[in-house]
Structures are given as C-alpha cells and as structure tokens.
C-alpha cells in the first residue's frame, strides 16, 4: 500500500496538475464545492417557490422537486449530457456537465432542507414584518432568510458530504476525479485491487467523516447560541457573512 501511495499519491491527490488537468481528490472537492455554491442560490429559490403565496409557483416547484427526487442521479447526469449543450449552445466538458447535473439535483434536495427551515420559522416573524408595511421581498430578504439560512448551515455541510460522495458517479462518464483515478491505477497494476480500493475507500472516509464532525459541531454551536443569550452577535455575524 505504501508503494502505491509513493507511486500514485500525487495523481490520487491532484491528478496531473499543474502539468495537466486537475484530478483526484482535489477535483472531487472542487467539483463538490462549485456544485454546492451554484446550487445554493438556486435552492433558496426552489424553497421560496415551494412556500410561495402563488399556488401555480408552488405547484411548479413541487413538480420539479418530485421529478428530481424520483430520478436516479446517474440518469440526471446522462440527461445533462443531452440537455446542457442544447440549452447553452456550446459543447461543455464532462466536468462541467456533471456539475450542472449536481446543481439541478442539489437544488431540489438542499431546497427541501431550506423549505423545512422556512416552515419551522414562527409565523409571527412574517406577520410582524408584514404588519410594519414591509412587502414580500423585503420580508424575505431582511427577516426570513437571514434567520433561516443560519439554521440551514449544518444541513449545508451534510449536503456537501453527499456531493463529495455523489461526484464518484462522474467517474462513469470519464471525469478524472478520485474514483476514476483509482480505477485507472487498478487497471495499471492489475494485481493489487484490494490495496487500491481500500485506499480509495479510506480517502473518502477520512474526507466525509471529518466533514460530518464539522456539521455536528456547527449544529451544537447553533443550538447553544439559540438557547443562550450571550452569542446572538455570532448568529448575526454568520447571517451577515452569508
């Protein structure tokens, strides 16, 4: 296992970078992060549409969410290969295509998480804001979302973990991320599948396990801020950072 690491360590970590395209763990993390960042505003939109005062908007958003939840991600990725060039008019790389599919996918899942937090916000908050004469958009921007998005922070980290795992599907369409690199190394060595795949599983495990600890930490921190009276400034700091 040590010799595999010494021979292929850098390629597992960053692919051929900087002499060639980025790959390995670095590409896995970058793809996940980009997908999450792009999915976030989209998910907020989906969540707001799901709770919209306009029935048609609510229904449309529900159809979207049920569609995405009902279709395997792999199928969504294949659809992206077909649809993205049609929409954008240009051929895109496999990496970008997979990111597009992940954004569509996360828009629904993260959107549902945000919707849950939206619905958990006491009704009085919206009523108080509307009673002051603030409209729907002002109320959403200044009263509802700053509160809701802070409570969504742990589930954002959880969605990031899910994304890191889901990017492994990109290996099936030829993106040189971590799983693809491992498959390549396995094909090259032929005789050491146990070592290669144990290494691959361990890499994901360390990454995701660390992230899940981070999510638990955030959750307890937010719970503490909520219950105590000392840390409200921190909530605001986080809210304003978002």
């Amino acid at each position: 296992m040590i010799d595999i690491l010494s021979r292929f360590g850098t390629s597992l970590l960053i692919g051929q970078f900087p002499h060639g395209p980025l790959g390995g763990i670095a590409l896995t993390v970058v793809m996940s992060a980009v997908a999450l960042l792009c999915a976030f505003p989209f998910a907020v939109g989906v969540a707001m549409a799901r709770t919209s005062p306009i029935a048609a908007v609510r229904r449309l958003a529900a159809v979207y969410v049920y569609f995405v939840r009902g279709v395997p991600l792999l199928l969504l990725i294949f659809w992206a290969y077909f649809v993205v060039p049609l929409v954008t008019g240009v051929g895109t790389s496999a990496t970008v295509t997979v990111i597009c599919a992940l954004v569509a996918y996360e828009g629904a899942y993260l959107g549902e998480a945000i919707r849950g937090a939206l619905e958990a916000l006491p009704r009085g908050q919206v009523e108080a804001s509307r009673s002051l004469g603030l409209g729907y958009w002002s109320t959403s921007t200044y009263v509802v979302l700053p509160q809701v998005l802070v409570s969504c922070l742990p589930s954002m980290v959880n969605q990031f973990i899910i994304l890191v795992k889901d990017t492994s599907l990109a290996s099936l369409v030829g993106v040189h991320e971590l799983t693809f690199s491992a498959n390549q190394i396995n094909a090259q060595l032929l005789t050491q599948p146990l070592e290669v795949y144990a290494l691959l599983a361990a890499a994901y495990f360390v990454l995701c396990f660390a992230l899940s600890r981070l999510s638990q930490f955030l959750e307890s921190k937010i719970a503490r801020i909520r219950s105590g009276s000392t840390g409200s400034a921190a909530v605001v700091a986080i809210a304003e950072a978002i």
Partner: protein, 240 residues
Amino acid sequence: MIQFSGVEKRYGGYLALRGIDGEVARSEVVVLCGPSGSGKSTLIRTVNRLEAIDKGTIKVEGVDVRDECQNRLRARIGFVFQQFNLFPHISALRNVTLAPVLLGKWPKREARERALHLLNRVGLGSLADRYPSQLSGGQQQRVAIARALAMEPPVMLFDEPTSALDPEMVGEVLAVMKGLARDGMTMVCVTHEMGFAREVADKVWFMAEGKVLERASPTEFFTAPSHPRTRNFLAAIRAA
C-alpha cells in the same frame, strides 16, 4: 378613525365574526374583552388585513381597507403582538429602524438617532444595542411597541400585549401604553387587564361568540353591565 360595518369572518364552517358594527373615534382608547374564542383577536387582525374578511367593510380614516395597497395600509397601523415577535437576528435598535429605513420614511443617517429617541420613550435607550434574546419579556414588548411607533401610525392595535409576560413585567408595558393614550394615540387593545381598562379606556367593548354584546364606558361597564354574559364574565374574572 376605524369603522366596522357588518364584518363577518369564517374559518371553514365556523363563523368567527358574526356581523360586527362599530366605530373607534380619533384619540379614543377602546379595550376589547371577552372570553377566549370570542373573536377579539380575529377582529383586530382584520383591521390590518392579517385576516381577510368575508363580508362587510372596515374603513380606516375613511378608506376601505380592501381598496388600499396592503403594505401602505399596514404601514399606517401599528400592531403589537402577544408574542412580541421581535426579529431575533438584529439588535433592538435595528428592529426599530428596519421598516422606516427600508420604506424610505427615515433617512439612513438619522435612523439611529430617531430610533434612540423612540427607545428612550419606552425607557430602553440604554439597551438599544442588545439583541432580543438578551432582553426580558417586558423589555422585548416595549421594543416591539417602539418598533410599531417608528412608522408613525395614527392607530395602534394591541393583541393581548401582556398575556405572555411574567406578572412582574406587566406593569412596565402597561405604563408605556398609558403614556401613549395620554399623548392622544388612537388605540384598540385586546386585553384581560381590567385595571388598564378602568383607568385608560374610553370605551370597553365586550365580545362573545363573534359578536359585540356590549359597548360602554368603563365606569358603566364595571358597575352596571347590562348584558347577562358580561355579568358572568366579570364575575369569573373577579373570582380568579
């Protein structure tokens, strides 16, 4: 100032308001009381359209509430909730400045000063930069009153403003409300504080089962109630 005529409100098959008529004059303080489920909260929530009505009309300063833009209507009606409903993620001061700044009523430069003036009026100028969770219930409700006053509404509606408070904090909130009444604010208060009603109200409306059964001056109301339901209600309150 506020005129109700034939107001009806229905929740599914249940008639919450059954034909309310009445008028609140300028600078008048009206206390709405009655047993729970009598429709008092529903009635004041219809004034700023937190609840839509099914029949009848409500006019505020002569304008039908349904003819006016909802946000403009609400901007000129102050509303104070039982649960305060302060925004927990911003300071007391920002709670006060949020709406007037966003709606262009206050220039941003003057916002802090004006909000401090209002917070001083409710006795909380020194706590302006605290967050709601760092304030007691009574203090939160006073901030909520200052927040409602910031829009300079000619009318203030109070929906059981002291019911969620510990007994020792009721007084400070009532004192602020008394001050408002003295300054000539038009007020409609749903409350169980009969002392407040006796001292401050110009009229007491007694509601039961979605109707206003009795309308009287406080002296009349507490000494010589005409409706048997009112007598029962007062007896029950005194016994408690």
